[in-house]
Symmetry: D2
Subunit: 306 residues, 4 copies
Amino acid sequence: METNQLRGMIPPMITPLLDNNHLDLEGVDRLTEHLIAGGVHGIFLLGTTGEAQSLAYHLRYELVERVCARVAGRIPVLVGITDTSLEESVKLAYKAKECGATAVVAASPYYFAPSQPELVEYFTALANAVPLPLYLYNMPSHVKVMLEPSTVWALASHPNIIGLKDSSANMCYFQSLLHLLRDKENFSLYVGPEELTAECVMMGAAGAINGGANLFPKLYVDLYNAAARYDIETVHQLQQQVMTICSTIYTIGRYGSSYLKGVKCALSLLGICNDYISYPYQKFRDAEREKVRAALESVGAKNLIR
Amino acid sequence: METNQLRGMIPPMITPLLDNNHLDLEGVDRLTEHLIAGGVHGIFLLGTTGEAQSLAYHLRYELVERVCARVAGRIPVLVGITDTSLEESVKLAYKAKECGATAVVAASPYYFAPSQPELVEYFTALANAVPLPLYLYNMPSHVKVMLEPSTVWALASHPNIIGLKDSSANMCYFQSLLHLLRDKENFSLYVGPEELTAECVMMGAAGAINGGANLFPKLYVDLYNAAARYDIETVHQLQQQVMTICSTIYTIGRYGSSYLKGVKCALSLLGICNDYISYPYQKFRDAEREKVRAALESVGAKNLIR
Amino acid sequence: METNQLRGMIPPMITPLLDNNHLDLEGVDRLTEHLIAGGVHGIFLLGTTGEAQSLAYHLRYELVERVCARVAGRIPVLVGITDTSLEESVKLAYKAKECGATAVVAASPYYFAPSQPELVEYFTALANAVPLPLYLYNMPSHVKVMLEPSTVWALASHPNIIGLKDSSANMCYFQSLLHLLRDKENFSLYVGPEELTAECVMMGAAGAINGGANLFPKLYVDLYNAAARYDIETVHQLQQQVMTICSTIYTIGRYGSSYLKGVKCALSLLGICNDYISYPYQKFRDAEREKVRAALESVGAKNLIR
Amino acid sequence: METNQLRGMIPPMITPLLDNNHLDLEGVDRLTEHLIAGGVHGIFLLGTTGEAQSLAYHLRYELVERVCARVAGRIPVLVGITDTSLEESVKLAYKAKECGATAVVAASPYYFAPSQPELVEYFTALANAVPLPLYLYNMPSHVKVMLEPSTVWALASHPNIIGLKDSSANMCYFQSLLHLLRDKENFSLYVGPEELTAECVMMGAAGAINGGANLFPKLYVDLYNAAARYDIETVHQLQQQVMTICSTIYTIGRYGSSYLKGVKCALSLLGICNDYISYPYQKFRDAEREKVRAALESVGAKNLIR
């Protein structure tokens, strides 16, 4: 399989932690197996949902090592190397290569807000320097800049840049990319927000990178598959289930961190891994945990709660 | 037909002008007939594409009068009453009622940026005061505030509020509304950006309010119809045509006004109406006009150019 | 006195209302006299604090008429003509001229977000069309666009554009304008936020347009005068009083409307005028009113409360 | 001298580089001596102007070591430890302590956008963990969140948090902090943008952290001193010089990176250090370099150019 043809549901794996300095290694293994058992088409480590930026570097390296060893080639592993320092991105990419990962993924540097020409220069330098194929990652809410369609167009002809994940939720942007890149057979588009997986795949996306697939991988794989075969009745039905998850498990707590806290808390309730969250966030306290439990029951997962 | 069941393609009509103080009355008539001949399911006057806020009040009144008289009940007419002054919105709604319009449409007041509870109070007062059914209009790029899902939910139970047009292009938001309001049979959702019509309608939207339908009403009606019957092959084919229009006719010129200038210029080239644009904008000069001509030719409309 | 040399404290007058359709005419007169008695150097009608955009047009016209008649030439009257329709701005400017106003003030049109070249064209057209000298008004939080220094520079050479009020609170911007326009003797800069009056005037501003001057005109006039004569000890002392007002009277209530509600409520408690607020806002209920009363007492205005 | 009483001009030192992986060590030494010779009251390493986030970690450590050794206690050295990972911030703080630095400085984590309560928890944990006094750094344009006054108020009572640098340019915010913290004798406020040094110091700030002081330390020290002694005539004169620098040297090039590129290029022309810039930026090419040379001449620094 060529990496540039990766299609399907690729969960952005959360990072199981014991505390700010230690991985929950058993949780990492259990979650990896949980995802593979659910039929996912790949795993994406160290993305936004993986709290990459919040982790000390040694944890990032350990995670890549552990998951790649566990997966052992069964499915592709993508590794997020997003950093403000190009050198640190490249080092992590070498580590990923050494561990057997399939490709790397990078958003724009996120302290400065580069202009579009600067982004072309940056990603060209990065693609030249990393030893694995590179996916772009459009994440304007966190990095402050869009990868404008003309920028993506310029980068798509680089032989080592093979696709883009879009988490903007701006579907005019995504449709522009689908249209602009329609003849680039070796460049694939993936959608981040799970609310949009069905429509994006029906309209031409290669796959989806959905946080909820950490919890219920089979459901998200089924949604991808239904959309990919244009089975709209099934899509409508599964979309309701996904939207119910989005509107319950992710909406406990008052801030932007509710989604991440909800996913980690739910995974803990499902007995898969610890729910510690790195600074600047904190895991849910008991009151919120009980609400997540109730939310899990409301989405029909009562029997899965440990 | 009940207005709250309006389905289909409803163009946001541009406002043909001779200058800042005079309608192009013959253009208004020709455009109205052009739209009806294209099979549109309704007409929306005085929206963003209609430059409502840029027009002196007497022009807004004259436009409603002229179009309603010309349509003469053949299809529904929706009238935008968005204003910063509630009183001026209500006055225009009475004019619309008097002329025979079907419903009115209002975005948030757009000078102050009200909080969500203030928006609930505002739209409740507006819905109570207007003599026609009211559609909400979510347009955050222009009015600075989103109508949050919980706000829409609160307003959707008002008997005189019958739907919402969303121009945010944020499809997570739109999916949230589709999910939240799935059991509200008398509340309909419409999508603004034409890039998103296909996917929105396939996922459950009642219709679309697309600026490009001013130019090629039949194409946009066909797109709506294909999506409504889940005919994905046809959707893919027509989507390419719409995306080609979006990426050519709307992208001449350097600023956010390119879309509006492009549509008006193209309508002028098609012999339908004058391309004067109200302040703060200006119509395209000759160089840009030639580019629009070339763009029209590239989308296969050469034989339509007068 | 030439209008382009207007210096000092010019309150942006609130608009006393009985309800959404009627001015509180006696309140208008009392407030006008209150300001003049406080020694203000001018009055600015129909600004943001004046709720201009929320008022039906007939109220805007009545207010200009009433205040100009009452002032009767004792001090300059500036009239806000900010509108999304250039024609409506011009009409109001003619009304202002007819009533004897001194100058008009306009922010950018605020529905569309024009580019900087479009703003130059717009304000040039407006300055050409109005029968009174024009002040620019930079208010990005409400109109979405900045009047960039290069735009102001271009407009400052128009013979009918004589100054700018900046409400951005971005002092790098204001310092850029002071520096860029340092040799334009007939172009004056005014600051909006009262927190910044002292420093702006000491650094070269011609005056200030502070909402709090509705309440305590003498205090704000004194602050301006102390800053204008570089009396830093007095500045520091009066600044504390102004900051105490800002951090008490304006911070009751949870939303962006707290400032306006606080000022109107306090004026009502001081017996000067009614506190009705136009949609989309609402006046404070009793609980908040009691807090404003306590805030007035805390700033030493207990004996003024009626 | 206690660190919490640091007053004066503290340049945010640029980081002299040979390439993406090597410091310009001789440039580091020359720049350090240049600043001390100019009379600065402290040096701030690894801030925004120091490109901290763009540097590989080993370079950050080497820089702290080199500068602290060179300064050798002559003036205080502050070290930026801003990071998205709390653990990496703490490690760098220990390195700073070991090298003899005086204090550390941290902005909010900048990938996620924490809520205000999460910021209180984060900075409390950080202040507890670092072995040196901590200054907060408000930099919303780069980290996406403001440190709201109430958040600063809560943190100001932590015994290890001794001040805040504000780079927001929002002077209403700065005045709010001055007012709110007026009785906190052990908490100091510093201003970032050099355009605002004069007014901030006259209104009560303890000092300024101005990028231009890398180039002309004595000028910026003089400006601070004039403001601190309320010598307004001198302030006005020096302010013009600073504004001329801001409007020439920093405005070559088309993007947000113009300031940094201009400062580094000018330092290179002055013979102080190499002008290499880390990704995602690039140093100026020859055409821009000539413009910087002309700008230096225009500000009277011709004789300093090597």
